[in-house]
Symmetry: C2
Subunit: 903 residues, 2 copies
């Protein structure tokens, strides 16, 4: 038979699944011999049984009786006894801390008769009646679902009547009257009297905790936090101890280190003659824990000893709740304490020094998300500000600058040394120069994975997007927000961590952690200056990141298309380029050449000529980047997007031509536009994402891939001739079948061979492919025969596996889908392990079945996402590739994955 | 050690993999004791070995020597012996008959000396020298790669010189001189003399056959026919027998039944004093086989006896090559003969009657493709015609009618009883009424799976599409082809089987098979009239189809959206509706309501009202169809396409508004257009295929699915009240996760419950989902928990698995992809078993792992494709659903799959 009830001395901290977090820790402290008031925990099994059957299991009642008797025997008192009543608290306690559930009912066991016993035993009638009215109030509200305001209002009315302001100024008689009022409120609201039977109070409390697991608030919370709905909660029954039994009693909360800064040394607050809720409510000013040293040295010393013991035992910063009842210290709760990002790194490093944990364990104490937080500059909290609007926090950081409405303006301002914010309705690849020039990007449209957001995150640039209240008027070059209108050059500030947009300049604080990450320890320490905490933080980050690098199995590469990106990524510790997109190399002035290629159509000579002209330009790009990457791999993806992306927009051109014709504006421009329109119409696709792109485009337009491959291979040959060590890799996008890959590979091998002969050198250039279509993963054992490596493209793989394009759906219904629990988090942010992840796993398995040592990586947005990195470690990839700014996070998480995974 | 050479008496007909088709059949006939000239076969193993290593394996040479010696010993003659030379032929013979490879070299063994021996032994000097010159000519051309025209020209020159027209008029001396000329041609072209060593001739011939496996022509052929490249060919070495040794010799080809009509009784041609090539070349008129009865009764009788023996042995119509050498009959080849579609059915039925095969075996002798051919009307072969252009044969059949440029014209003509052809640049759902009204559809754009093609096939309507030479000018209502211009009403004829478009009327022949399929045997026989062959064909089709229905495990349902489709499909034997699309029910006059729903946006009351107005209309549709389907399941798919498909096209509207504004045409219409434009812009999607559609739309726009479900459920309840047996099933499209399905299912269950209470009845309505996204297949074990059935949507699954949309890619690069061997046939025609099929298999397996008895079907285009039907049988689906016209094919193929599969 399942055991439903555990006395505190029966459990331990590893039984969280069964006893919940609170119960497991109470048991652990009991086991450690710390002064925990006796009690017991009802398991999550019991809760699940209750939820399934809608009935409290009869065995549970028997076991509770038994456990309660144990406690009563230990203390020699009985629940609700009229002379010397044992009182208990009933608290929920799930595996994961969960606001939204019923929390606590104190003073269970008091009734019209035992209240007198309590008064006698405590020698404090006022205390006894105050405890009783608190019970009725809490019980009424949380167990009986009575409107809490009814009790609060009655209390206020009474105080007014008595002409006092504080609760403590009410007398015992006042409180006796209040108890009567409260009982009447319960009777009126529920139709039943307040229950006098102590055991019934307890049973009702237990059932209320069970029920609270399924409230709507709890559901919503779990969905958001991705906590399974079927865990259930435990219930803790604990003997009451009182911090409000006069001036030798008190209650407090403390941490074994400062959870905010990470400084070692105690940190906490307490209040004498108070109950826990008084501390939390903030009605009275709390005292710092150090004050206890002076008022009650023995208790203070005992508490400090317990704190040291707990920290040594838990090997981590602990968060503690305690109560002093007439000079006797009781521990009511402990857990590993929450902390800020900075504190996490500093504490982990301290614990290594104190030899409480190993460096491996220390890695488990910090997260990539924390490191990300430490990397972004932030607005100075103390600075004043005027909020204009709040939108999507697309790429964290704080940026201040003049409004720039286009590339030209942004570049001009950057040239003049004036920081600027690029403000656009939305961005596209053409806006790249402006984004590079600007401090941050603000758009009126688009979600967290819009072009602006993705590119900005890639560049580590602050971005707020989808600010629908903004009206960007390009013609008049104004930005309107409500009834305020700003012109170009007006200064605004944007907070990419909160999504806030401010009028004017808000002061920004830089992060020395970022300085360290990009320029090394010395530079980081210098940036920290006199701030000793910051310097210690920089040293701690360095220590943990260095350890992560030592233990991780995943290589970390970067997605970089430009020399600037490449340099930044190398600074951040990238070990190679996992994705160099080449289409960006066709923008700007080179666009004219691509247009020539497209418009040439069947004029093969013209097309060949236009392509030929692109070779030296593209070679120049590759020379620069290969030189920077000397000795490190650089994976170059052949052109991927459909060609019409390089032509004008169909609708805009149709409108232009139609209007010109309607107004009879004949002339060479119209003629030119009409020629272009014919080409654009021909290339137009209903679903460009699923159109003529990637390898399909390469095969369809002979010579296109060849020109890119030639440019790359010749660049490598030239560098090699100069004694460098270039390591390019050719990557074919959007492959769905082995034959496609074969055709491109044959062509590439031919070019490599020719170039080797021409330069009299030997080049070892791997040729691989993206695995970004379901079919590629499903037939990976075939592809492996023609591929030297795989790179999983989880962006496209997510789009095709789910059948939605992120351009179209994120804004439209991701909000709804998150709300409805279809996903916990966007599958474009964290890899959908259950669906897309299965394809990745299948691809790895099938690919390795054909080529056991095949190198495999991932170069989608997920490469820098902590959860995803752990998944990629687990499925056995060799590397992740992510945007430069995410490289440190990926390094840290790859290290964490290595120490945390079971293999 | 591998055995590379098999004497004819060592093999049999089941060894086609090793001996090729020809070799296996020669061996079989030898085994049967038929008069086959002695010889041997070199295996495909030897060919593969040669192709891999580039060298004739040394063991092969030894084995050939041994086999040759056997033949020589049997006949008591030696290859190329000067006195009484043994001559042989060398022929290729792969597993599958394969034009494009080297075929035959005859008379191997002749040289300057043995030619005299042959002359002496045959007593015919002219014959000997003619044989020698034939050897040099064939050997030169096929083995030595000498330009064949050189020989032909020399022969012509000689005939001119001698003043004769026929080869036979050349004398022995003439031919001696010709042999010298031919030898010089060889010497000049190759630099080497014509080889005199008989064994060297043979070895060179063998190697030439091996090599011919890898010619470009052979490669292209194999790719097109999906024959693996690694099979290799066998080589047959056979003793020469001569049909040109005077008037008692001859050669011929015959079939054991008429391969054209299927009539029983012999059928063949022969020529006396001729070699096989003379029969094929058609220089001299052949005689019908019956003539042989009179000229050489013993040989005729022997041949007839052999034919009966072969047919009994092969249990099928055989195709035979024979030679008579001086009165002695020799069998040179046999195989199961090719036949027309009609003959296939008739012969299969005859063979059952003759108790040569079982009905199960008969099913293996016919195909769905043949049945399809029998169903389409065709142009009368003898009718005259003027070709206008040739384009894609999108949906077979022959249609004649007046040009109609739009719905209105087509409907008007149909009303007037004038057949018409709908001619459009391309079609979309709006053109449906016109397509229904027209005899056939002709479009200037779009491929085999364009809207026009798919819908036309679905309706069994003739369609030619992608006729790029057509210029459809809607404004002037003209159709231009080259310099000819036709107005509306001009008569054209289109052939959907060949893709031809003709000017004027071409006579059409109707198919009684179709009459039988839709109206039963009696009607079919009546349609056949006096045509006994046709009547027999109708009976044969009925017999085989009836047997298919008895043995098949797959149910055959239909995709039908209208009562008309439904009736047609029922006629064709559909057992249910597997896909009833509901979006078509929102077209026409109801479009205004859908526009209201969309334009209502946040005006919930307005939206609800518009939706409410749709309920009775949609209920009316369902009532009609459910009544027709009484007692049979009808799966209704909730609305799938994105809503903007119901709004005007963005670009057109942008142009309209911009032009009106440019011309200052203010007014209520512009204002209305601008309001609409705002909505259209808002709903516009970059990739509608991957946008807000299917279940996503249903969840996004609350009430939309509900209105459809309510209409369906109420229709069912009303019919049930009338004592009918409605069996609707609700199908949710585009599901990717269990949660989506759960939400819709909960809503549907609620509506069903309400309706049951309202009507006081009990409805048993299964709720299932499409599996048309990779994620659905990958997580099918989850979906199965919430789904009562699965229907695989292999169209969308193909699009997402390959990552291409058929709208965009089919025209653009499917030609290239077929050419380059990426696929043998479009994956939209036949399911890509290696990629998409793996997902289907996975979906079935995972789904059944959760729900072992779950009903699963498929409702994509593939449901009526023969190869795909076999695949679906094999993976264990319960039903296929296809367009009405394909129902008979699916029934037949499902039966074939059942008897042909191994389970």
């Amino acid at each position: 038979m399942t055991k439903f009830v555990y006395n505190f001395h029966e459990g331990d901290k590893d039984m969280k699944d069964l006893l919940g977090g609170k119960g497991a820790n109470l048991a652990e402290m009991t086991k450690m011999g710390l002064p925990v008031p006796p009690g017991f925990t009802i398991t999550t099994d019991a809760c699940r049984e209750y939820l399934n059957k809608g009935l409290v299991p009869p065995e549970l009642e028997t076991e509770v009786t038994q456990a309660l008797r144990d406690v009563e025997d230990t203390l020699g008192r009985q629940l609700g006894d009229a002379e010397d009543p044992l009182l208990v608290s009933v608290r929920s306690g799930a595996k994961f801390s969960m606001p939204g559930m019923m929390e606590t009912v104190l003073n269970i066991g008091l009734n019209d008769s035992s209240v007198n016993g309590l008064a006698k035993v405590s020698g404090d009638e006022r205390f006894a009646w105050d405890s009783y009215r608190r019970l009725i109030q809490m019980f009424g509200k949380t167990v009986l679902d009575v409107d809490g305001d009814l009790f609060a209002d009655a209390l206020e009315d009474l105080k007014k009547e008595r002409g006092v302001t504080a609760d403590v100024d009410l007398t015992a008689d006042d409180l006796k009257g209040l108890v009567e009022t409260f009982k009447k409120i319960v009777q009126d609201a529920t139709g039943d009297p307040f229950p006098q039977d102590p055991r019934k109070q307890m049973d009702m409390g237990i059932e209320a905790v069970f029920r609270s697991w399924n409230t709507e608030r709890a559901h919503i919370y779990r969905r958001r936090e991705r906590i399974p709905h079927d865990l259930g909660t435990a219930v803790n029954i604990c003997t009451m101890v009182f911090g409000n039994m006069g001036e030798t009693s008190g209650t407090g909360v403390c941490f074994t280190r400062d959870p905010s800064s990470g400084d070692s040394g105690v940190y906490g607050d307490y209040l004498m003659n108070a109950q826990g809720e008084d501390v939390v409510a903030g009605i009275r000013n709390t005292l710092p824990l150090s004050a206890l040293k002076d008022t009650n040295r023995p208790v203070y010393d005992e508490l400090r000893a317990i704190m040291r013991k707990l920290e040594t035992h838990y090997k981590d910063l602990c968060d503690i709740e305690f109560t002093i009842e007439r000079g006797k210290l009781w521990m009511l709760q402990t857990r590993v304490g929450k902390r800020t990002a900075g504190a996490a790194f500093r504490v982990a490093s301290q614990l290594i020094d104190e030899k409480l944990i190993t460096p491996d364990e220390a890695l488990e104490r910090v997260t990539g998300a924390q490191l990300t937080q430490l990397m972004f500059p932030q607005f100075d909290d103390s600075a004043s500000r005027t909020l204009l609007t709040r939108a999507m926090a697309a790429s964290p950081g704080a940026a201040v600058g003049q409004i720039a409405f286009d590339n030209a303006a942004a570049i001009r301002m950057a040239h003049e040394g004036t920081p600027c914010i690029l403000v656009r309705r939305e961005t596209n690849p053409e806006d790249l120069p402006g984004m590079v020039a600007a401090e941050g990007v603000l758009t009126a449209r688009g979600g967290k994975t819009s072009h602006a957001a993705v590119v900005a995150r890639g560049m580590g640039k602050t971005c707020v997007c989808g600010a629908e209240e903004l009206d960007v008027d390009l013609k008049n070059r104004t930005l309107r927000v409500g009834d305020r209108v700003f012109g170009e050059g007006h200064v605004i500030s944007i907070d990419g961590t909160t999504g806030e947009v401010f009028d004017g300049k808000v002061e920004v604080v830089d992060s020395p952690v970022t300085t360290y990450l990009s320029h090394g320890l010395e530079a980081g320490l210098k940036a920290a200056g006199d701030d000793e905490d910051m310097a210690d933080l920089v040293r701690s980050v360095d220590r943990l990141l260095t350890h992560a690098d030592e233990v991780r199995r995943l290589e970390v590469r970067t997605n970089a298309d430009t020399p600037e990106d490449t340099e930044r990524a190398l600074g951040y510790g990238a070990q190679g380029i996992g994705l160099c997109r080449t289409e960006h190399m066709f923008l700007g002035e080179r666009r004219a050449l691509i247009e020539r290629v497209i418009l040439a159509e069947d004029d093969l000579a013209e097309r060949a000529e236009a392509m030929e002209a692109l070779v030296p330009l593209q070679k120049g790009d590759f020379l620069q980047m290969l030189e920077l990457m000397d000795g490190k791999p650089m994976t170059v993806r052949l052109i991927d997007p459909p060609l019409h992306e390089f032509l004008p927009d169909l609708t805009e051109l149709e409108v232009k031509v139609a209007v010109a014709e309607a107004l009879h504006k004949d002339g060479p421009e119209l003629a030119k536009d009409k020629r272009m329109l014919t080409a654009v119409r021909k290339m137009h696709e209903a679903n460009p994402m699923l159109g003529l792109r990637g390898v399909r485009l390469g095969l369809y337009l002979p010579g296109l891939f060849a020109l890119q491959i030639r440019a790359l291979v010749e660049a490598a040959a030239e560098l090699k001739a100069k004694g460098k060590d270039p390591r390019p890799e050719v990557m074919v996008p959007l492959v769905g079948s082995i034959r496609e890959l074969q055709l491109v590979r044959d062509e590439a091998l031919e070019i490599i061979k020719e170039t080797e002969e021409k330069y009299g050198t030997e080049l070892n250039i791997p040729i691989g492919c993206m695995v970004e279509l379901p079919r590629a993963a499903l037939t990976a054992e075939d592809l492996a025969l023609e591929a030297d490596f795989f790179s999983f493209g989880t962006n496209d793989l997510t789009q095709t596996t789910w059948g939605f394009s992120r351009d179209d759906v994120e804004g439209a219904f991701f909000g709804l889908y998150t709300e409805e629990g279809v996903f916990g988090v966007s599958p474009f942010e964290t890899i959908d392990t259950h669906g897309v992840g299965r394809l990745v796993k299948l691809g790895v398995k099938k690919g390795r079945s054909a080529k056991p040592d095949m190198k495999m990586g991932i170069c989608g947005e997920h490469g820098g996402d902590p959860d995803s990195v752990h998944f990629f470690h687990k499925v056995g990839l060799n590397y992740v590739s992510c945007s430069p700014f995410r490289v440190p996070v990926a390094r840290l998480e790859a290290g964490r994955a290595a120490v945390m995974s079971e293999d």
